[in-house]
């Protein structure tokens, strides 16, 4: 058991472990919304859009969190303005601005000396370089994100499941959606030091998607997603420590492996269970996840706002 307990004596190991757990739990919790509301593309865009803000803050000594929030908000506004017209669709606008913001970040960091090392730290994380101050910031931000998700669980759930009904009841649906994006941005910033800009998407999507394969209710999905995210952080960090792999890469690979296992072995939605269920004697146990034909909305991988619009067409 030495491989399990020995590293725990090292402060460097403890710090990285804590940061990985905080990142995994926060990502896994908000991931339930990312998966169910099809926010994956927006999450990816946001993680790239915050990059120039993070770099500027890093260079000037400004709080990184504030820099990221400002850059993320500015990019979102630009996307909203450009996609308002008929000619440029929203997913195109997102593509333009998130890549543009990302390029701005790269240019900004290239003006610094020794930028290759800094760049890779931003892109794939730098768990070994995490300090106690960073961990404290992550803990606070993670607690705020999860606290808001818990406090407004009913309202966020309602607005996600049935937007029109939420509006009919007078809930500020647009405000709730904006709040969700703010929480998403905060989660991304929390995750940067552990997995970096490129890999954070995996932590936002994979643990929650794995949880979705295992449970059929929202709250259990969110709790399981947070637990899986944290567990992947722990396992990935151990693997990375012992095999000298990239920590961010090892954590994400662990999450991917967990997903594949669930995809094949899940008792309710797994491939094996489906295969077994094809036999007539199991006919009564039809998969609960599949809605009746004709009730599916939006296509896989479709940007969220577009699919939201599709789902709520103006009535006549």
């Amino acid at each position: 058991m030495g491989w399990l307990t020995d590293p725990l004596a090292l402060e460097l190991f403890q710090r990285a472990l804590l940061e990985a757990v905080l990142m995994g739990a926060t990502c896994g919790a908000i991931g339930a919304y990312v998966v169910l509301r099809r926010l994956a593309f927006i999450g990816d865009a946001l993680s790239h859009a915050v990059f120039p803000g993070v770099v500027l803050a890093y260079v000037t000594g400004f709080p990184i969190f504030a820099g990221a929030m400002i850059a993320g908000s500015l990019t979102s506004v630009a996307i909203a303005i450009v996609s308002r017209g008929q000619r440029i669709r929203e997913d195109t606008a997102i593509g333009i601005f998130f890549a543009g913001a990302f390029a701005l970040g790269i240019v900004l960091i290239s003006t610094q000396s020794g930028y290759q090392r800094d760049l890779s730290a931003f892109l794939v994380g730098d768990l070994l370089g995490v300090g106690w101050g960073q961990i404290a910031a992550s803990a606070v931000a993670g607690a705020i994100v999860i606290g808001v998700l818990v406090a407004l669980r009913k309202e966020l759930l309602l607005a996600s499941f049935d937007r029109v009904y939420a509006q009919a009841l007078g809930y500020p649906v647009f405000g709730l959606e904006l709040l969700l994006l703010l929480l998403l941005t905060a989660t991304i910033v929390v995750s940067l030091s552990a997995v970096g800009i490129i890999l954070v998407l995996a932590m936002l999507v994979t643990p929650a998607a794995t949880a979705r394969l295992l449970v059929d209710r929202f709250t259990p999905m969110m709790i399981l997603g947070a637990g899986l995210g944290a567990l992947c952080g722990v396992v990935g960090w151990y693997v990375s420590y012992h095999l000298a792999w990239s920590p961010g890469g090892a954590i994400v690979l662990t999450a991917t492996l967990a997903f594949v296992l669930a995809f094949v072995l899940s008792p309710s939605h797994g491939l094996l269970a489906h295969r077994l269920r094809r036999h007539p004697q199991h006919g009564a146990l039809r998969p609960a996840i599949d809605p009746p034909a004709g009730h599916r909305h939006g296509e896989e991988g479709e940007p969220v706002v577009a699919s939201l619009r599709r789902r709520h067409p103006p009535g006549r």
Partner: protein, 276 residues
Amino acid sequence: MTGSTDETILRLIMTVAGANLELHALAAGYDGAWVLDGVELSIPPGRLVGVIGPNGSGKSTLLRAILGLVPSRRGSVTLDGVPIERERRRVAYVPQRELVDWSFPISAAQVVMMGRYPRIGPVRGPAAIDRGAVTVALDRVGMAHLGDRQIGALSGGQQQRVFLARALVQEASVLLLDEPMTGVDRGTEEAITALMRELRDGGATVLHATHDLEGAADVSDLLCFVNGGIVAFGTPDATFTPETLHATFGGELMIMDAGDHAHVHGGGHHAHPREH
């Protein structure tokens, strides 16, 4: 929970304080184009109102405009003289079923509970009375045994019953049902009709948009013919005339037999897949 408690809760959710619904100089539409204009309606409490018209005539828009769910709106909607924006929780809306994400991981009972959210308020969880209301409402629509089922695993008729139960637990004075009979089985259709009548008897104002002209004439106290505005509004006897039908449906309508009640087929809905 004892049987008598259930009955008390049932009486509670089926009996509401009635309210006068007034629409004045209402225009509603999308992107600047009015779908409806010049709407004047005054509906006393405790009435069952059938809203009928061809595809694209503005039936759904009328219901959505009452709730303020259309992008462009002019004029006023009041409940007992108070602007509807401040009384939204007294209005229950049953949208067309296409608008919901059925793959969502929630149970039928959880969907019904959403009708209690405004009463529960933020942060807190449901109290015993809220759970009781959900149980009773599910039972009332014949879905007590399926409360734990994932919402997407239910049939169309069962999903519609869940939505009705959600409207019930809201204890609303006004219920707006957007084509509740579309795509449901015969049994559900009858259950919906019975429920609408019971709610009306309990004091609620019930508006239901429908394609089924004769069905609407049979069950409704008042009919509201819509085509870009209100064509006619009144009792079925007063309004269900060849003239009104022609003014509402124009050439799309076939009058098979002009008798006591004209025997008609509302045009369009066979040819068009569905109306938004």
